[in-house]
Amino acid sequence: MSLAALFFYLFAGVAVASAFMVIASRNPVHSVLFLILTFVNASGLFILIGAEYIAMLLIVVYVGAVAVLFLFVVMMLDVDFVELRQGFLQYLPVGVLIGMVFLAELVLVVGSWTFGAGVTGAVTSAAPGVSNAVAIGRVLYTDYVYFFQAAGFILLVAMIGAIVLTLRHKENVKRQSIPVQNARTKAMAIDVVKVPSGKGL
């Protein structure tokens, strides 16, 4: 067995096992952590087939952003997962039945699937010796620069929107301002008050 095959079975095995643990673990935080493990192993599989750009994207986008977002949501929202799972066993037969139907359909579809002529030949890198990231970069900033900029503006609109709808300027909040603190003079800081004797303040 070659080294690549060994790594394939390693990544694939861990990915399947941790994917199972995502739905099996009782603690939702553990579920998210297993999800991250699944993503990391999937990106390992992508590296094995030579799609290193997608592998990096998977790590950056899914592990770095999406999974962390999940983690925050799980920790900040008080969702009682134990309660959600009640009746899990009760619905198990129906669930298994639907699962079997889907599985049979998938087998039927994939079993009869044939690729058209010329499809497999088309999936080769455009120029030899050019890595995926370079190939994408070459068209992204030239042929597709219009869409790239437009997408940038859409993200900007989303950001402005989130701020417009949620940011509230609170009155009477004390903020630290270091220049003001440093510029304090004796006259500003000390107030000499004449206290009449026997009265107090």
């Binding site: 042929d143 219009y146 869409f147 437009a150 503006f153 609109v157 402005i160 709808l165």
Partner: protein, 475 residues
């Protein structure tokens, strides 16, 4: 491929809008709330500048491998969209200030939304179409919820967002099917590939049209319209009813005519159905409404149905009809909303049109203008609304769509009921308390709109000729 900066010339209006939106955002963020007036003024100036650039810009150009195209059709629609955006922004400044909803982000979002409309109108392929649509809509979702302390406004924003996301999903699904079955996202190449209808292509067309119908609020994808129009602040509703409708209708026509001319008989029946359903619902459902904004929502659904009659014809004359219709619709809508925005008494805004009772005695000029607009919306000759309907129905009859034309005329008779009821309330009911005097911007918009509607039939040639030239660009 190298792209020199000078080659971007045809996209100058878009660049101006994009850069001024960024600059105004910086200005507002650093100068704080006191800069709102400046930002409003400069945003208006930017819209006006873009309008001038569209008018003096090149007549025909293609950029970015066909993703961005400038032609007579695009220029016509861009001028309409910019007028709509500028007119509503000008009217909204004072209104938002009185209601204490003025924020510098509002004009910036209007600018970005208008930028999305320009991208949409110029779209030459499916990716640009989607990008423009999202840029336009995302900004609209936000300004619908502009009054974020009001439950109805936030509900409007949320409802619009959720349903808009659903329609975007359908549009993307359709676009991916069309790409899969024709092998291209470019409109011209889709037209080349789609000579024979295939099942996959038809599915793609249906889903894409569903997404586009949502944006023009045509039945059966209209459900969001009344709630969003009623919930959103009035100037935002005015904006919704004007510029985005023009842009969405432009891309609808362009997509149907440029990408799918060879399978026209496939999508024609969809448009005929949507058109009949929109006209019927727009006429009947509006009868029970008392809220003026909600009434205008149903009115706009109906009018989109009338405009789609021209598209259903699928001829050059039909497209010309759509263009004339959208121009007239835009002007009438701006004028009507100028009136809605000035329905203000000492204790705040009123939205029911019963409050207009006896307006003819309290402010006769305004009542006359609004009556002209209502007659025109109902399509009574010789006003502008009648001529617009005349052109689309004529195109439908010449294309052999007699049933569509007859149903259209019948529904416009039904629709006349609720427009004329407003005239009756203004002229024959006992006067209610007078409104606060109209602000200057709505007054100007109402005056221009009313005069245009009233006198359009005297000299319609320039608009008709421009629309004819624009329609020719697609054939």
């Amino acid at each position: 491929m190298t792209l020199s900066l000078a080659a971007l010339g045809p996209a100058l209006p878009e660049l101006l809008l994009a850069l001024s939106a960024l600059a105004l955002l910086m200005l507002g963020a650093f100068a704080g709330p006191k800069s709102t007036d400046t930002v409003n003024g400069l945003a208006l100036a930017a819209l006006f500048g873009a309008l001038v650039l569209v008018l003096i810009g090149p007549a025909e150009a293609t950029l970015f491998n066909g993703a961005f195209q400038v032609d007579a059709f695009g220029r016509f629609m861009k001028v309409l969209a910019l007028i709509g955006a500028g007119g509503t922004l000008a009217m909204s400044v004072d209104w938002l200030k009185i209601e204490k909803q003025d924020r510098f982000e509002y004009p910036v979002l209007v600018l970005l939304s208008t930028l999305g409309m320009m991208v949409l109108i110029s779209a030459g392929d499916l990716i640009a179409l989607y990008m423009g649509l999202e840029m336009m809509s995302l900004a609209l979702y936000v300004i619908a919820a502009n009054n974020r302390d009001s439950v109805r406004s936030t509900e409007a924003g949320l409802k619009y967002f959720v349903l808009g996301a659903l329609s975007s999903g359908m549009l993307l699904y359709g676009a991916s099917l069309i790409y899969g079955f024709t092998g291209s996202v470019n409109f011209a190449q889709i037209a080349q590939a789609a000579r024979e209808p295939s099942l996959g292509l038809i599915f793609g067309i249906v889903f894409t049209f569903a997404g586009l119908c949502f944006k023009v609020s045509a039945v059966p994808f209209h459900m969001w319209t009344p709630d969003v129009y009623e919930g959103a602040p009035a100037p935002v509703t005015a904006f919704f009813a004007s510029a985005p409708k023009v842009a969405a209708m432009a891309v609808f026509v362009r997509f149907a005519m440029e990408a799918l001319p060879n399978v026209a008989h496939q999508w024609q029946q969809i448009i005929v159905f949507v058109s009949i359903a929109s006209m019927a619902l727009g006429s009947f459902a509006a009868i029970g409404q008392r809220n003026f904004k909600r009434l205008m929502a149903y009115s706009s659904i109906g009018h989109m149905g009338f405009a789609l009659v021209g598209l259903a014809a699928g001829t050059q004359q039909g497209v010309q009809g759509v263009l004339v219709y959208m121009a007239v619709y835009l002007v009438m809508t701006l004028g009507t909303f100028a009136c809605i925005l000035s329905m203000r008494r000492k204790d705040g805004m009123v939205e029911s049109y019963d409050e207009l009772a006896g307006l003819a005695r309290t402010s006769p000029v305004k009542a006359f203008m609004l009556a002209v607009l209502m007659f025109s919306l109902a399509g009574i000759p010789p006003l502008a609304g009648f001529l617009a309907k005349y052109y689309v129905f004529l195109a439908a009859i010449e294309a052999g769509l007699y049933t569509l034309a007859v149903i259209g005329v019948l529904t416009s008779v039904v629709g006349a009921f609720y427009y004329l009821r407003i005239v009756k309330i203004m002229y024959f009911d006992e006067p209610a308390a007078a409104f606060e005097p109209m602000r200057s911007e709505p007054r100007v918009v109402l005056a221009i709109s009313g005069t245009f509607t009233l006198l359009f039939f005297v000299y319609p040639a320039p608009l008709i000729a421009a629309a004819a030239a624009a329609a020719r660009a697609l054939f």
